[in-house]
């Protein structure tokens, strides 16, 4: 029965609705990994995570355990975390430094940082007359088919063919341009801490939530209200509450009807942008001091251009959610049809004054840490979605809000004026999904 259904996978997606099995069927999940995550460009990490030769981070690409490693040649390589001899995992720690070369803990085969075989104990005697040895590429660690980076953000694709990283990202490159341009030095540096949180729900539920502009005032009302009360209280006592309270209270002060004033832009490959809403260009002394540094680095006109970029979220389908004005990102690692790991990182703007980093840090700690005041309620809903979708109470998930009223121009779908809560981003993601799943055989 399943074979029959999967042959017709594209039929699981209609322009305004999707079959529930897309979220619950383990076999569809396996196909997604093969046809999407193990083909397209997946974010591995930032170059500053591995500054020294031999530094490595393990990373999951689709179902494949990979290693991102800095070579002696200064290049960042992405390899399968696997010894070609007997299949042993090469690096058992999440990150570290492998030294001059990789050395397998089982039979001491050693490899260069780019995965090339370096030595095998007693190779001449042990392997004389066999097909194994330095000249056999099967005796080296396998590299990701393609590795590219954009402004320090490293991506890998496990398929030899396909669009370049730049072509794949298209206009969603603004996620990295916006983040890096905000640094007076034009680049960012990772803060070496990764918060890792597991969601008991399908990976697509998280991505669909990222640009869902209707949910915040429903889901995050409790935190918004609480923060707003304390914010008012602090303001009464001291004159002004820190900006971090505004980041939380906006979830309540921006009432449900006002979310239609925002806009989403929906691009090919499922990428989308939600325009900003937090007013992150206040006129406090810290911001003004920062703007002075920016003027020095870029001049007035360019600074205005950079700080005028007004986005809250950029979603790079199928695995990355970037909040460029707050210098943080969440990478999505599907672990199973109903289990998803998010890896949450934040960055420093090189050359920016410390208070600007503190702003990013406050959001990272309050919204994105494992004691999150915001995502706790999202995760509760994601779990409930996954539970409900497993039932026979209905066959479809609907994305019908403002359907038929999207504006399309040159392949970019904009939500119409006053339709910010449109489910266009979900429709756009599922369109890309159907293309990936239908095209590949």
């Amino acid at each position: 029965m399943l074979q029959e259904r999967i042959a017709d996978l594209a039929k699981f997606v209609e322009p305004d609705r999707v079959r529930k099995e897309v979220y619950t069927d383990p076999q569809i999940f396996e196909l997604e990994m093969a046809r999407i995550h193990e083909k397209v460009w997946i974010y591995c990490g930032h170059e500053s995570q591995v500054p020294k030769a031999g530094d490595y981070y393990t990373v999951q690409v689709g179902r494949q355990p990979m290693l991102m490693v800095r070579g002696k040649d200064k290049l960042v390589h992405v390899l399968y975390n696997r010894c070609p001899h007997r299949g042993n995992m090469m690096c058992g720690d999440r990150h570290g430094n492998t030294g001059e070369f990789f050395r397998c803990s089982y039979h001491a085969w050693t490899f260069q940082h780019d995965g090339k075989l370096r030595s095998i104990p007693m190779m001449e005697s042990g392997y004389a007359g066999t097909r194994y040895g330095m000249d056999n590429p099967d005796c080296s660690m396998k590299m990701a088919a393609r590795v590219e980076s954009y402004r320090g953000f490293v991506f890998a694709s496990l398929a030899a063919d396909g669009p370049t990283l730049k072509e794949f990202l298209g206009d969603s490159r603004i996620a990295f341009d916006d983040m890096c341009d905000r640094a007076p030095a034009g680049e960012v540096e990772v803060v070496p801490n990764c918060f890792r949180v597991i969601q008991h729900s399908n990976w697509k539920i998280f991505l669909e939530n990222q640009l869902d502009a209707l949910h915040p005032s429903v889901v995050h009302q409790s935190t918004g209200r609480a923060a707003h009360e304390v914010e008012k209280d602090i303001a009464k006592k001291t004159g002004k509450a820190p900006l971090s309270y505004h980041m939380l209270s906006a979830f309540a002060t921006v009432t449900i009807d006002k979310w239609d004033d925002f806009q989403t832009l929906n691009y090919p490959h499922g990428h989308c942008i939600l325009t900003g809403y937090m007013g992150l260009r206040p006129q406090d002394p810290d911001t003004l001091a920062y703007e002075k540094v920016m003027h020095k680095a870029y001049g007035k006109t360019r600074t205005e251009e950079i700080l005028g970029v007004n986005i809250h979220h950029v979603l790079i389908y199928p695995g990355l959610s970037v909040q460029s004005p707050l210098q943080q990102l969440r990478a999505v690692r599907p672990l199973g049809v109903d289990k998803t790991l998010t890896e949450i990182w934040h960055f420093r703007l090189k050359g920016a004054p410390e208070p600007i980093y503190r702003r990013s840090l406050a959001y990272y700690n309050l919204v994105n840490s494992p004691s999150t005041l915001i995502n706790a309620d999202d995760l509760e809903n994601f779990w409930k979605c996954q539970q409900g979708l497993g039932s026979d109470g209905g066959d479809w998930v609907s994305f019908g809000r403002y359907h038929g009223r999207d504006l399309e121009k040159d392949g970019v779908v904009e939500t119409g004026p006053g339709m910010g809560t449109s489910e266009a981003p979900m429709r756009n993601q599922m369109k890309a999904w159907a293309q990936y799943m239908g095209n590949a055989r």
Partner: protein, 160 residues
């Protein structure tokens, strides 16, 4: 260290744990001094909460936000049945100043029930306690939770 200090420190820690388990949030917050901070670093090597990534780094204002959120009727994740049970032990009074201030280390184990799931958290508390007329107040509570370095299966809702 005197038996008096040991006894006072233990009683304080037991009372604090009891307030969490009985969800008396305001009474729990009141145990902190006006400038008190509750801090859970991501890993043991951190030496300050100020300006670093933290799982918790909360002054009394942020504690109040968390309390008000938890008590809001639409805090969806708070709807399901949940409860905690703390055990605090291995109490060591590291320092006792002349003015009565203490530095106290202890180990904790917390069991949490949410719906049908049980989770376990354990680690070390370090309390900097200020002696006041009304009893001890916490200037800094550092929580080095052993689980902190592993991936979180779901998140933490309130203080540990």
């Amino acid at each position: 260290m005197s038996a008096k200090h040991q006894h006072a420190a233990e009683q304080f820690l037991y009372r604090q744990a009891d307030l969490l388990d009985s969800k008396r949030w305001q009474d729990w917050i009141d145990l902190f001094s006006a400038d008190g901070v509750y801090w859970m670093p991501p890993e043991p090597s951190y030496t300050t909460w100020d300006g670093t990534p933290a799982i918790f780094a909360e002054d009394k204002n942020l504690m109040t936000v968390r309390m008000k959120r938890v008590l809001h009727p639409d805090a969806w994740s708070q709807r399901p049945l949940w409860a905690t049970n703390h055990v605090v032990s291995n109490v060591v009074v590291d320092k006792a100043a002349k003015n009565g201030d203490l530095v106290v280390r202890s180990r904790f184990h917390m069991l949490e029930l949410r719906r049908d799931d049980v989770r376990h958290f354990a680690g070390q508390y370090t309390h900097q306690l200020k002696k006041t007329k009304g009893g001890y107040r916490i200037k800094l509570q550092r929580v080095d939770m052993t689980n902190a370095q592993a991936a979180y299966d779901y998140v933490l809702q309130v203080w540990v």
